[in-house]
């Protein structure tokens, strides 16, 4: 038994209450963040919010004990928590979902461990574990409310680290050098606010700088997709394409959050207002165009997709993309999870070719290869897709063979008989002398960009005129559907299989959440062209298609910020100065940071010097020191030559108290061969504290003071 006690004995108990409060604050913040993000239940939040402070109180009270019996109980409780965690695993569908029971387990371990935090290293462990809670909460957070949790968490963490450092500095120190200039005694604060504030400012500054330069790669594939499938209960589509807010207004391209392109027919003559409503958030390993629908038949006024009943893909998640639709050649994998914010058409949005779809509900495929669900996508619905996108290099595409189009692809060469001849002539003129398919596509894209303007307010084509013909030869202005249609029609006139895709552009990537925030105004249309040996490749004559492989440097927020500013400013400058502008901005930013650092290091700060005294480090001596100060302020300052025992006795007479341990423990601690027993020391500190308080109380209300015996 003695061996057990000795093994569990606390070597250096941590006395700092402020440090314990700071660590508790950090852990509680992590727990609350988990609760706010829905990773743990509200009942758990309430239970932990009650249990954790109690646990910390117990561990503070018993910090000097060996607590071996508590440790046994805690071990048993920890085993129960572990068994509960293993039980929860049985209900887990994907590896990703382990995060939640794991967070739950970590939380209860925190509570259990909270009962036994006698030393600084134990508190350090708790602080480190709280980071795990924050990480889990951060991994499921989709909005900026987590920023508040982070700010609170780092406030506590900074305070905890500053106090821990102070505790380390004070460990085993025999003396304290305190500032002196005469006058009032030096007051040592329980929380070094200046150090905490300085650390917080420095951490904030360094954190922002590091965040700006820290690459945010997202191409690392985990064993499982990062998603939690959430079902929805939308409008039943009945085999067709159903847009939830479909408008009857023939001139409206957009009504609310529903894009007219997500239907069986896309009328090119309509237009309307674009809403900025957030329609979905996409967590993706790479930026991409989120395709929803495909169109192959052009009649001069509109595009139509497959009108037949779609074919169901298997019976359950994951739904596999049929090999007959699959493209070949080099591919880049993109994993995506879609979080629907506004009701959407019953389509599966996905980047490129959706190889695997994880969706709670039936998924079907039409004849063109576009995926549909059996009901509209509703807010809160979550699904994931593992896609592949064509990753052939430009050289490979240039070298792609040009030959006869196989029969299945011939439907993508369809053109209306009413199409004016001048459209095909223009295509041939643009691509004259270019032998390969890829070169022809680029030439047409360049031609459109150089000679046509993008405007949502493009004129409505006259009745009876081909929309593409009107765009190319009369209006010279159009929106994405017209750019895509013109490209597709010209490619088809050259014998290149092409089709129109409708969906959303990548959206704006929130650098904090990491989600692509897709708004209704991001609805878009682009071109897919077919290459022998490679399959379908995306081309966007309106904007750029995001590259399939993202360079690491492009994931650095600072580079994105500079790129964003350079793009905005570049529009005001003559062409070709974009790169120069980027370097200029980078130089200016570096210079600003450099000057800021220089100023921070060289700024003079003058402070008023505090007063002198020596504050003892040992607990009883420190408590006696406080009693001395209390006596001094009460007008009973310690007399020259008066021993500690005499001072305590005098204080006892003044206050009417009868301290038992104070004098003996003080003398043992300061002059004896061995420190007083922990229990005696604690009682002595308690007695001295009460004496100090009573002395000060006696000073403030003279009627309560008693005359010396």
């Amino acid at each position: 038994m003695e061996l057990v006690r000795r093994a569990n004995a606390t070597k250096k108990p941590e006395d700092g209450i402020a440090l314990r409060v700071a660590v508790l604050g950090a852990v509680m913040t992590g727990m609350l963040a988990l609760g706010v993000e829905g990773a743990i239940s509200p009942v758990t939040v309430v239970l932990v919010a009650i249990a954790l402070p109690f646990a910390y109180w117990v561990s503070w009270k018993r910090r000097a004990e060996d607590n071996w019996h508590i440790k046994i109980v805690l071990t048993l409780v920890a085993l129960v928590a572990l068994v509960r965690f293993i039980g929860q695993l049985s209900g887990i569908g994907t590896l990703d979902e382990i995060r939640f029971p794991l967070a739950d387990l970590f939380l209860w371990i925190q509570v259990i461990h909270g009962f036994d935090l006698p030393q600084r290293r134990d508190l350090n462990f708790s602080l480190g574990s709280s980071l795990t809670l924050m990480a889990v909460a951060g991994s499921v957070s989709q909005d900026m409310t987590f920023a508040l949790a982070l700010a609170v968490y780092f406030s506590f963490a900074v305070a905890a680290f500053a106090l821990m450092h102070r505790s380390e500095i004070e460990e085993d120190a025999q003396g304290v050098l305190v500032p002196k200039t005469g006058g009032t005694p030096y007051r040592r604060r329980a929380v070094p606010w200046k150090e905490v504030a300085r650390g917080a400012i420095a951490t904030g500054l360094a954190g922002v700088l590091l965040f700006l330069v820290l690459p945010q790669p997202s191409g690392i594939r985990s064993f499982s997709l990062p998603f939690h499938v959430g079902g929805g209960g939308g409008l039943f589509a009945g085999g067709g394409l159903l847009s939830p807010d479909g408008s009857d207004d023939p001139f409206s391209r957009m009504n609310g959050s529903s894009y007219f392109g997500f239907s069986e027919e896309m009328d090119l003559s309509v237009r309307g207002e674009l809403s900025d409503d957030l329609v979905m958030k996409v967590r993706s390993s790479a930026p991409a165009l989120w395709r929803g629908a495909l169109f192959d038949t052009y009649d001069g006024r509109s595009w139509r997709g497959d009108q037949d009943e779609p074919t169901p893909l298997g019976s359950g998640s994951p739904f596999l993309y049929p090999p007959s639709f699959s493209s070949s050649g080099p591919r880049a994998i993109v994993s995506q999870t879609f979080y629907i914010e506004r009701e959407q058409a019953n389509v599966i949005f996905a980047a490129g070719q959706p190889d695997q779809v994880f969706h709670d509900g039936q998924v079907s495929i039409d004849d063109l290869g576009a995926l549909r669900t059996d009901a509209t996508l509703t807010p809160g619905q979550v699904y994931s897709v593992l896609s592949s996108r064509g990753a052939a290099t430009p050289a490979q595409l240039h070298a792609a063979p040009v030959g006869a189009v196989p029969d299945p692809m011939k439907r993508y060469l369809q053109l209306p008989t009413s199409l004016p001849e001048r459209v095909g002539s223009l295509a041939r003129r643009i691509t004259r002398g270019i032998p390969d398919t890829y070169g022809k596509i680029l030439a047409i894209e360049d031609y459109l960009r150089q000679n046509y303007r993008y405007s949502i307010e493009s004129p409505v084509p006259p009745s009876g005129q081909d929309v593409v013909d009107h765009f190319l030869f009369d209006a010279h202005v159009g929106f994405c559907e017209q750019f895509a249609s013109a490209t597709t029609v010209m490619l088809r006139s050259l014998g290149i299989p092409a089709r129109v895709a409708a969906g959303y552009t990548t959206g704006h990537r929130n650098p904090f959440t990491g989600y692509y925030e897709v708004r209704a105004s991001d609805a878009h249309s682009w071109v897919e062209a077919w290459f022998p040996s490679y399959g379908w490749y995306e081309f966007d004559p309106t904007f750029d298609v995001p590259p399939a492989d993202v360079q690491l440097a492009e994931t650095v927020p600072l580079a994105r910020l500079i790129g964003f500013v350079a793009d905005k400013l570049g529009a005001l400058l003559p062409g070709g100065s974009g790169a120069l502008l980027r370097y200029g901005l980078l130089g200016a930013l570096s210079a600003t940071i450099g000057v800021g650092l220089w100023m921070m290091f060289h700024k003079s700060r003058r402070r008023t010097a505090p007063a002198p005294d020596v504050v003892p480090l040992t607990p009883v001596a420190r408590a006696f020191y406080r009693l001395e100060q209390a006596l001094k302020s009460a007008g009973h300052a310690r007399r020259p030559g008066e021993t500690a025992a005499e001072t305590i006795a005098r204080s006892a007479r003044v206050t009417g108290m009868t301290p038992v341990y104070a004098a003996a423990s003080f003398e043992a601690e300061c002059y004896g061969p061995a420190d007083p027993a922990p229990e005696e020391a604690r009682r002595a500190v308690d007695e001295l504290r009460k004496l100090s308080e009573a002395t000060l109380g006696a000073e403030s209300s003279p009627t309560t003071s008693r005359p010396p015996a």
């Binding site: 650390g199 820290l214 010097a609």
Partner: protein
């Protein structure tokens, strides 16, 4: 020089894990969290430590006795126009037990001070020692340290024991010593007779009746209490770790005998081996003797020259105390040395510190040297002292 601590490497590992998790889970907040955690280390680099602005002074009393406590005042001055950070100061003054201080943030132009009782652990004359300042403000992730040499002279004299007697110096310690202690004319109290006045004689010593009878000044003559001279030889290598070592025990013994000799009026001389010469301290005062012994260094040399120097200056009635540590050249010469002392008609006393008991206490055995060892002359005494034994009891046997 700033050095990352163990915590820093842990933080870097945590940051890497967060980035990996962020990349794998495609969670942007994990990158923010990683940047924030890395900011704790980065922030530590941004906060200047300003160790160059620390000016440290140490104030100690001029002297003390080994094992005693002295009040050491450590002062940090900040002559700069910016505040000094929280720091830890390690004072490694060689004569004192090392001490650690917490130095509270010192304001610009301010001074911080601490007074602390510290034990003088080691005999010697110390001119100063290094002070190491370490600061890791604000979080201790990156620490900077600076070592200063701070001058402060301290003489730590050897410990000694107050002897109530030391038999060999007592008049009755040997029958022949009685003769040695016989009085001769001087300033004693016993009246011996009269003699003609010599210039310088005190007037109160003039014996007027005899002067009148003789017609010239005659003065009374008194007995002088003559004490035999004592010479202490200390030699030998050191064993154990000072202050608890074989040589320190001998030096303490020498100081004890010296103090007793001075207190009882015996002229004393101390002889030790210098680097290449024989060092002698002749008829010192108490403080002079203690300070001289403070600088004593252990040297295992042949005893011949030392004993010759000691024996030659104490006269035929003198006593030579030879103190050596066992197991070396000094001990090997001990019997010869004692024989030399006896041949000179002097008393020889040897004190042998048993090196084995200090160097390897577990295997320490009863030393070969024994009291009144056979083979030595009658008047010589050999005593031994072992680790943990009471020096006073040993010397007063």
């Amino acid at each position: 020089v700033r050095r990352p601590g163990k915590k820093t490497f842990i933080v870097v590992g945590v940051v890497a894990l967060l980035v990996l998790a962020g990349a794998s889970a495609q969670a942007g907040w994990l990158f923010v969290l990683a940047a924030g955690v890395a900011g704790l280390v980065g922030g530590s680099l941004l906060v200047p430590q300003r160790l160059r602005s620390f000016s440290v002074e140490r104030s100690v009393p001029p002297g003390t006795i080994a094992g005693h406590e002295v009040l050491v005042t450590l002062t940090v001055r900040n002559p700069s126009s910016r505040g000094l950070p929280l720091a830890r100061i390690e004072d490694r003054f060689p004569g004192l037990e090392p001490a650690s201080y917490v130095c509270e943030p010192t304001p610009p132009g301010g001074t911080s001070e601490s007074r602390l009782l510290r034990k003088a652990t080691k005999r010697g004359v110390f001119e100063g020692g290094e002070v190491r300042i370490t600061s890791g403000t604000p979080f201790g992730f990156v620490t900077a340290s600076r070592t200063l040499q701070v001058a402060s002279r301290l003489v730590v004299v050897p410990r000694w024991v107050e002897l109530t007697s030391f038999p060999i110096l007592e008049p009755a310690s040997s029958p022949r010593d009685v003769l040695h202690e016989r009085a001769r004319t001087g300033a004693g109290e016993e009246y011996l007779g009269v003699r003609p006045y010599r210039p310088g004689d005190p007037r109160r010593f003039v014996h007027w009746r005899s002067s009148a009878r003789a017609g010239s000044l005659v003065v009374r003559e008194y007995e002088e209490h003559v004490r035999s001279a004592v010479s202490v030889v200390v030699a030998g290598a050191d064993f154990g770790e000072p202050p608890d070592s074989a040589f320190e025990a001998l030096v303490s013994g020498a100081a004890s005998i010296g103090n007793y000799a001075l207190a009882t009026g015996h002229p004393i001389q101390i002889v030790m081996a210098g680097k290449e010469e024989v060092r002698r301290l002749v008829r010192p005062g108490r403080n002079e003797m203690l300070e001289w012994l403070a600088e004593a260094e252990a040297r295992d040399v042949p005893l011949g020259p030392l004993v010759a120097a000691a024996s030659g200056s104490v006269g035929p009635r003198g006593t030579v105390v030879v103190m050596v540590t066992s197991g070396g050249r000094a001990e090997a010469d001990l019997r010869n040395a004692l024989a030399t002392i006896e041949r000179a008609g002097q008393r020889g006393v040897a004190l042998v510190a048993d090196a084995q008991s200090w160097s390897d206490p577990a295997s320490a055995s009863v030393p070969e040297v024994i009291h009144d060892a056979p083979g030595t002359a009658r008047r010589s005494t050999i005593r031994s002292i072992r680790k943990g034994e009471d020096l006073r009891a040993c010397l007063q046997v």
